[in-house]
Symmetry: C2
Subunit: 394 residues, 2 copies
């Protein structure tokens, strides 16, 4: 009786549920402390205490009907102004409140952008490996996903293949920087090359190609690496942001879109995005959390904690003989599997109580993703298991 489009999701969902149930069984059998779950991107670092203080201060000082009431579907003007000013200070941009649309997390923001832009059969390009949900978001609006192949060992986008995949139907390009699942940060020269290609193709086809920058991991960068702010390289850029990782608030569903004045058809895009936010059923981003994040724009998560985890896993896995992509951002380690079939590798890892995600989930078989946003003690306890898993392939 459910929609035909939903049937495949229900089938996929039962696989996930089976894995989850198996994880629970493993925990019951071996003890929770002896099962090493590296599958989830749920921040292990607590939100800065400033978040709690901000919420309490708002509840204490502001009128409840203001704090919990409807506002413009785009969000509170004061919040949008504060975010614009903060971005301008950090990146030398010149956004105003009219460029900021508060969203129900980055996932909400991406759906708003795609609803705004996509006609059926319009093409959206993404670079493998990428977050598998993009496929679903694009399918929501009957768009067609076009995948640029993985580019090992650097996993920087392959600009030549990218160019070859742009057609007159290309409406949008999604980049996720720093990248989930590889942890790679796309370089400024890569971004420049991509921008040059898109400019050229826009002229050639007389179309608009929107670059969607999905940036929930922006603040998680290591070794002093710089994450380019994409609106500065390509006019037709829309940024999707979330506080899920930077303030450890993934359950709160709070983020924003930046739609710069410079994008093609700006007036219509911003207006349609505002309507899309409403009619998709978001209506507006959660009100109290909008006000709270606006008070925490200078706060930072404890990147050093993730960095410690990163180094510990990277050093150990390299020592055990794994081929690991050195991550410069996000909180994922991207590891080549020791046999071709990544799902078989994931199954064997489970025999050692290690839970990791197969690269196939990110359109890139032959790898696994290890989320290191976990308790460092669990990493320490897990290392012998990683070692034994490697030895089992020798």
């Amino acid at each position: 009786m459910i929609a035909k489009k939903m049937v495949k999701y229900v089938e996929g969902s039962s696989v996930t549920r089976a894995m989850f149930e198996e994880g629970k069984k493993m925990a019951a059998k071996y003890g929770a402390e002896n099962v090493y779950d590296f599958s989830l991107g749920n921040p292990s670092v607590e939100p800065p205490v400033a978040v709690k203080n901000a919420i309490c201060e708002i509840l204490e000082k502001e009128a409840p009907c203001y704090v919990h009431g409807y506002m413009n579907n785009s969000g509170y003007e004061t919040v949008r102004s504060a975010i614009a000013a903060s971005l301008n200070k950090r990146f030398g941009t010149s956004f105003g409140e009219q460029n900021i649309l508060m969203t129900v997390g980055a996932a909400g923001g991406l759906n708003v952008v795609l609803k705004t832009l996509l006609d059926p059969e319009d093409e959206v390009i993404a670079f493998a490996p990428y977050f598998g949900e993009y496929n679903n978001y694009v399918a929501n609006f009957d768009g067609k996903m076009v995948v640029v192949s993985p580019n090992p060992p650097t996993f920087q986008p392959d600009v030549a293949e990218f160019e070859s995949k742009i057609t007159p139907k290309t409406k949008a390009v999604i980049v996720n920087n720093p990248n989930n699942p590889t942890g790679v940060v796309y370089r400024e020269e890569t971004i420049r090359a991509m921008a040059e290609v898109m400019e050229r193709k826009q002229k050639e086809y007389g179309t608009a190609i929107y670059l969607i920058a999905d940036e929930p991991y922006r603040e998680l960068a290591y070794d002093g690496v710089t994450v380019p702010y994409l609106t500065k390289y390509y006019d037709n850029t829309i940024v999707g942001y979330s506080y899920s990782k930077s303030l450890s608030l993934p359950g709160e569903r709070i983020g924003y879109l930046v739609i710069p004045d410079e994008v093609d058809d700006f007036e219509n895009v911003i207006c349609a995005a505002n309507v899309a936010n409403r009619i998709l059923g978001f209506v507006n981003a959660p009100s109290l959390m909008q006000l709270a994040v606006a008070k925490c724009l200078e706060e930072q998560t404890d990147v050093a904690a993730y960095d410690t985890n990163r180094k510990m896993l990277l050093d150990a896995l390299t020592e055990y003989g794994y081929e690991v992509v050195k991550p410069e951002g996000a909180f994922y380690l991207w590891v080549k599997t020791m046999e071709e079939d990544d799902t078989a590798f994931v199954a064997r890892a489970k025999e050692y109580n290690l839970l990791v995600v197969p690269g196939s989930s990110f359109m890139c078989p032959g790898y696994v993703r290890i989320a290191y946003c976990v308790d460092p003690e669990m990493i320490k306890r897990s290392l012998p298991a990683f070692e034994k898993l490697a030895q089992s392939y020798q």
Copy 2:
């Protein structure tokens, strides 16, 4: 450059924006206290103080990564259990946590249900007048809206016409009780008659017809009237609920769906709804607010305050010669316009600084909606304007 589907929304949106700008100009010209805005359904009653206390207690006692972190896409199990228990106590139902799916408000919930059920061209029946956003929600999934005509003066659904409009393509029926915009509460006998028709048509066509009960106004009922709980009358009922009105939290986007064990294809429906909640970009209902409302299930909004407003407007407008539907629920007054063209009537009302919404917005021309969730002092100040408007038609 925007999606073709979005063009009409952008056009509609500029009309709304123009109205809003005109409202601001009026306030500047005549003074804000001399402009009487009855256009918005934004609760004027403050949230119960228990909401603030609950939030503070949660922030004080619970671990931040639990309060603000990811949980199952359906919501916290403890929250869903508490809501199920509360419903069971109030309505004699027997729901468990497996029947509750926490959503980003009722609007989010309705989109989740429609994504779950609708194939393109599937038909969804609604009873005019109804909340215009239903058209957009159904269009999101390429469904076809089928409208049952308004049934004055009671505005109870016309069951005979309803039956005539059910076809083998009818996938869902939306009822909103108490009703926005009429304030009418659908009677138990109407519900029974509708259920009997749907049961019969399901058998005749061998289909499943899902009744979607949109119930954000459930707790706003006056004169001791009972609002039937629809799962008790028809097995294939899915309830959409929101705390926007009952706890005055419209900006927080917090609500839930009830999907009873008895609905056709339950296992697939609940699983698909859970996936739909994720892939539409909601991911999960805002986490802190889930925990907060679970602590406020016994709280009530100040219905008496709305009732005072209701009586004041109803009595005055009746005295001035308006034909008013006596509302038994929600916070809207549904008034016959004194000329056939409701948009002309709305324009004339504006000359008296009265802002009301034309019935055409609710698929029912010839009426206007007056939202009385406002400061009672504004109602008092506005009465002479309503009187003059009526006199202008004599």
